[in-house]
Symmetry: C2
Subunit: 330 residues, 2 copies
DNA sequence: TTGAAAGCGCTAACAC
DNA sequence: GTGTTAGCGCTTTCAA
């Protein structure tokens, strides 16, 4: 059997409480006693049983991470960095894909709470608002990542979507483009800001509004949309993909039509996932600081867990243009 | 406070034991009683506390998944499918990246055991053999995924690496190539089989052995290696990437040298991750049935958890050639 | 068919 | 400084 504090205690000739004290560095324990206990713990390869301490009300050191959408690698990048940071801080990540399905979200949220995860990281496409309200009401430690929820009291950490939209427009303007289209993601909270920022810039310049088409975050859907767009008489000279997956779809559509990038058409993406470096030509993109966002989200969540209570802080990281080879000066 | 079985019991006018019995569908409970209890559980939104039942010795319904290497998307695909299957079977996944670091492996394995995960899924690049021995000794439910460990008693589920190597060679031969090189992954158990299968075919045909170079699974390293390879006088007409990441590196090297694919040089990959569909031209690859492997691994692990004991089964799924546009007939 | 009671491994208040 | 004790929420044997 796996050793318990009692085994350690007996062998060290002390009580379980003392062992517990040395483990948690609490109370006053004599130096000799501590060393002895430590030595025996080591000898017996003792590992405290988290279930027991959780039952007593201590943290589980585990964070539930909802992944909405496996089609878009950006979520995996969020998870990956979150896990990295969580590990540094002594936490584990339970990954839960919900596939934009409110029923799955409910199911998994229930499971995670049963398993006593200390808090949630909620990604941008979370659907089940009723559940969100419930989590808010329970004051379950939670942070929204990659999007804001102004209607809720959650802390949020995200890239500035609105600004990203603006930057996309400005960047394309600076290259001399005026006939520009955008393919945006459907049903995503963060997509909205990206679109609005983008349009805003056209309004400000009193230019005719850009053509906007909607697609799910899949290469094929974006490709289909883009194919349609690029066959028009008055073909845009530049297309902005609301996220990298969409941009890759656009690139494939261009290629299918025999259009070369960036000679015949410029394409830019948004997020700056590793997709950008894999396609050819490499994709110019508005980069969201995914790693920073993940790290900050984990840190904020842990703060909530340790201190209790939300701060209703809204961290907004600025995006930045990463120039590569998919867009050119007109 | 969150309701406990006692709250349910009190409200239903029964004992906690009875509530437990209806939750677990155990023992004999009167039909009326059960319905009443169920109704109250629903009303109070009762969710059993996993920590308590784990403490009593029941399963945690959680699987620890070691991710060795975030650079290669194939591992994320394994995780993704494993999580999908686990969810179907009522399990959660705790994701743990170890970055090929034996120290991290040890740390995380300890953490996961403390947290009472029911078993491990171990990926191909796991380094810490001493730890593996320990896990084996403890008979901790575990399955090796995407590689075999003949020296250990673990169940394993993988694609047939050796056959994949053979298929790569045969496929390239069938296209008329004879001057072929391979860039293989360093320090990976599965890489070995791929290389040996590949070489075997040359031996059988009594051809001169292919040039083999080694690189970490990073695009840049593969690119550097490939650059070197493709500058030689007697440049190969085809290069086989030991995995998709490597193949993408090779493609980039070719492009850098102004070589067009597949006209000047054919490239094929192995694994068939989504990278293959994103690059252009799309990458012909030997596909490993990643999803099947993940599903089977989860199922096997759950079987171990439920039944106890390893079966020492070695599942080997056959690879298959997926023809796309990166290789041509000579 | 149901209930009483002990105990899983750990923590924390309190007593010594 | 160290030990005693009660109890976290649940399961399970045994008795009723």
């Amino acid at each position: 059997m796996k050793p318990t504090i009692y085994d350690i205690a007996k062998k060290a000739g002390v009580s379980a409480a003392t062992v517990s004290n040395v483990i948690n560095e609490r109370g006053r324990v004599g130096d000799k006693t501590r060393k002895k206990v430590l030595a025996i713990m080591d000898e017996l390869q003792y590992r405290p049983n988290t279930a027991a301490s959780v039952l007593k009300g201590k943290a589980a050191f585990t964070i539930g991470f909802f992944v909405p959408d496996m089609l878009n690698p950006v979520y995996m990048e969020y998870v990956k960095h979150a896990e990295e940071r969580a590990q540094e801080r002594g936490f584990s990540i339970m990954m839960c894909s919900t596939e934009n399905d409110p029923v799955k979200e409910r199911l998994q949220a229930d499971v995670l709470r049963q398993k006593n995860v200390d808090g949630f990281i909620i990604t941008s496409k979370f659907q089940n608002e009723e559940l969100l309200r419930e989590i808010e009401r329970e004051q379950y430690p939670s942070v929204c990542i990659a999007h804001e929820r102004p209607d809720f009291q959650f802390d949020s950490v995200s890239g500035n979507d609105w600004e990203a939209g603006i930057m996309a427009a400005d960047y394309l303007f600076s290259l001399g483009h005026t006939n520009i289209a955008m393919i945006a993601e459907k049903d995503s909270v963060s997509s909205y800001g990206r679109i609005e920022g983008f349009k805003e810039r056209f309004r400000k310049k009193e230019m005719k509004q850009p053509l906007i088409r909607y697609a799910e975050a899949s290469i094929d859907q974006a490709k289909a949309m883009a194919l349609n767009l690029l066959k028009q008489d008055d073909r845009p000279t530049a297309v902005f993909g609301g996220n990298d997956v969409l941009a890759v779809g656009i690139m494939q559509a261009a290629r299918t039509l025999g259009l070369s990038i960036p000679e015949d058409i410029s394409v830019i993406g948004l997020d700056d996932t590793f997709l950008c470096q894999i396609v050819s030509p490499q994709l110019t993109a508005i980069a969201m600081p995914v790693k920073k966002i993940s790290y900050r989200a984990v840190d904020l969540l842990i703060e909530q867990i340790e201190k209790g209570g939300t701060l209703k802080s809204t961290d907004l990281f600025p995006p930045v243009v990463i120039e590569r080879d998919s867009a050119r000066k007109l």
